[in-house]
């Protein structure tokens, strides 16, 4: 029994959601990712179930574990009460802890996501925040998205939001002491450490790739890589 598997086995999500796969394929047939990526949740469960560290390490360094959309459709259907989606979350966490995530295109997206999402949480108290949601990164938000962005205060005020004001309501300004509590939770429960780890590993990887951090982030955000069916 290998070390990587042992670490995985300590994850609550593996304890709860890895039983024994019998390869029936129901997860694959409902999986949104399996339809559009070269991807199979069943194969992932099988590798973890094999407890083979060599294969697990390869998986942790691959694009494969980052294809899942975590819709958890697999969880509803599995006749053995496995949950591929939850198992994948444990794999992703371990990939980050080991620093393996930077070895794959999809894994390298972690830096971009972390900066955006953890930034929003710690600065504003929201996962998504209008001040950091740029039309340039989101042309799919449409002409209305652009309009909303250009007239943010007016439209929100018209619709009854409390944008950046005190008191309750939509997009209210979350009090400083509450943001401090979130920061404190991050420090106590390992989120801050994870952020530092991702920054550090990404910095090293960028260096290795001969990119500065902006180029590295931009590439991670835009480069689709292999595995998409249209390529």
């Amino acid at each position: 029994m290998g070390k990587l598997y042992d670490r995985l086995a300590r994850d609550i999500r593996i304890k709860e959601w890895l039983k024994a796969c019998m390869n029936c394929g129901v997860c694959v047939s409902v999986c949104p990712a399996a339809e559009f990526y070269n991807y199979s949740p069943k194969n992932i469960v099988n590798i973890v179930q094999s407890q083979d560290d060599e294969q697990i390490e390869a998986l942790l360094k691959s694009d494969t574990i980052w294809y899942c959309g975590e819709c958890m459709s697999c969880m509803t259907r599995c006749p053995r009460k496995n949950a591929a989606g939850q198992i994948i979350m444990a794999l992703r966490s371990l990939s980050i802890e080991m620093g393996y995530f930077a070895e794959s295109e999809k894994g390298r997206q972690q830096l971009v996501l972390q900066r955006a999402l953890c930034g929003n949480i710690l600065n504003y108290g929201y996962c998504i925040y209008p001040r950091t949601f740029n039309y340039e990164d989101h042309p799919e938000s449409g002409t209305i998205g652009k309009w909303l962005g250009n007239n943010l205060e007016e439209v929100h005020s018209r619709l009854g939001s409390n944008l950046e004001h005190d008191g309750p309501g939509v997009l209210r300004k979350i009090p400083k002491e509450s943001l401090d509590e979130l920061k404190s939770i991050f420090d106590v429960t390992g989120a801050t450490a994870r952020m530092e780890k991702v920054e550090e590993v990404s910095r090293r990887k960028a260096e290795e790739m001969g990119l500065d951090m902006d180029e590295y982030s931009k590439r991670a955000f835009t480069y689709a890589g292999k595995g998409h069916t249209h390529e």
């Binding site: 409902v30 399996a34 069943k42």
Partner: protein, 336 residues
């Protein structure tokens, strides 16, 4: 010399066969069936695997000579009381029987297909069960079956499925599916027939030939993958998803008919008798015998016997053999 009464509860093939054998050994079997006819599930079946023997003929043979068997239909058991002398069995009609031995041949129930919600039985019109299809084979009447061009058989419906609260293999459904797939192909030679299986359990003599025949003679296509969900398209056709696991690819297909192979689960009365008589049950809900290998028909209670599918999924010949074996066990017990 008149020998003892033996009460047999459950008038399916097992109960009938055990009664006939006891009768032949000089006992007076009292066979109690809660339904209005003897025969159990066999009454609903058309032909039997592997050779396709007519189920009606088998049932007729089994029930042709019941002289010396006191059989009662519409007989629901009120209570069974144990005393030092044996058992007192009270039937709701007011009858009471005394017996030193009681045999439970209470049988099984088919998994209620509607519980597997994602397959849409009783929601999408063209989803039927193996039992419905046998009924159609017998009567040729079912408005849901109208010259289907694409037909699917879904194995393991309510079996090998923890979400359906049944982890066990139901044993006979694979063979039934292969039999039914071949039969429906005989009725609709132009149709394309698919079987969705996880493992094909062709365990009995000449079952493998039945499978080979289904492939070679009938062109039945076997897809290794469990159906994940069924829905209905605007034209009324079924939309079925599965993975072809041997290719590693998700599949979507439209079908005119989908047959759910519902599995064998413990009968309604199993829990009730377990409670009434203190018979242990396994995790799967079936009666647990005293010893699964050496004493499969005995309970901890020396005068109380269990036989047939109330102790787990079995084929018909296995059930009948067990019935005969149980008769001997009962005889040995009563002769002591």
């Amino acid at each position: 010399m008149a020998k003892d009464n033996v009460v047999v509860i459950g008038g399916g093939p097992c109960g009938i066969e055990v009664s006939r054998n006891l009768r032949d050994m000089g006992y007076t079997p009292i066979l109690l069936e809660q339904q209005s006819e003897l025969g159990g599930h066999l009454r609903q079946w058309d032909r039997l695997f592997p050779e396709g023997v007519d189920a009606r003929k088998v049932l007729k043979e089994l029930t042709s000579d019941l002289r010396g068997v006191k059989w009662f239909t519409d007989a629901t058991i009120d209570s069974i009381k144990k005393s030092r002398k044996g058992y007192t069995v009270n039937v709701d009609s007011g009858m009471t029987f005394e017996s030193k031995a009681v045999i439970l041949t209470t049988g099984f129930k088919l998994f209620p297909a509607e519980k597997k919600e994602e397959y849409g039985y009783n929601i999408y019109e063209r989803v039927i069960t193996n039992a419905d299809l046998e009924e159609y084979f017998r009567t040729r009447k079912d408005s849901r079956i109208q010259d289907p061009k694409t037909i699917g058989f879904v194995h393991c419906v309510g079996s090998r499925d923890e979400k359906a609260c049944n982890r066990q293999c139901s044993k006979v459904c694979c063979a039934t599916a292969v039999k039914q797939a071949s039969e429906i192909k005989e009725l609709f030679p132009e149709a394309t027939v698919y079987c969705f299986y996880m493992d094909l359990r062709m365990f009995g003599r000449s079952y493998e030939d039945m499978y080979l025949n289904a492939q070679k003679k009938y062109g039945v296509r076997f897809i290794r993958g469990r159906v994940s969900e069924v829905s209905e398209d605007i034209d009324g056709k079924l939309f079925v998803k599965a993975e072809d696991t041997l290719l590693g690819k998700p599949m979507k297909m439209k079908m005119d008919l989908l047959v759910l192979m519902t599995g064998i689960i413990p009968g309604e009365s199993t829990a009730q008798y377990s409670e009434m008589l203190g018979i242990e049950r396994g995790e799967d809900g079936f009666f647990a015998p005293k010893d699964t290998i050496l004493e499969p028909c005995r309970t901890k209670d020396a005068g109380l016997f269990i036989a047939g599918t109330c102790t787990g999924p079995k084929t018909l010949p296995e059930t009948l053999s067990e019935a005969r074996a149980t008769a001997i066990q009962v005889h040995n017990f009563l002769s002591k």
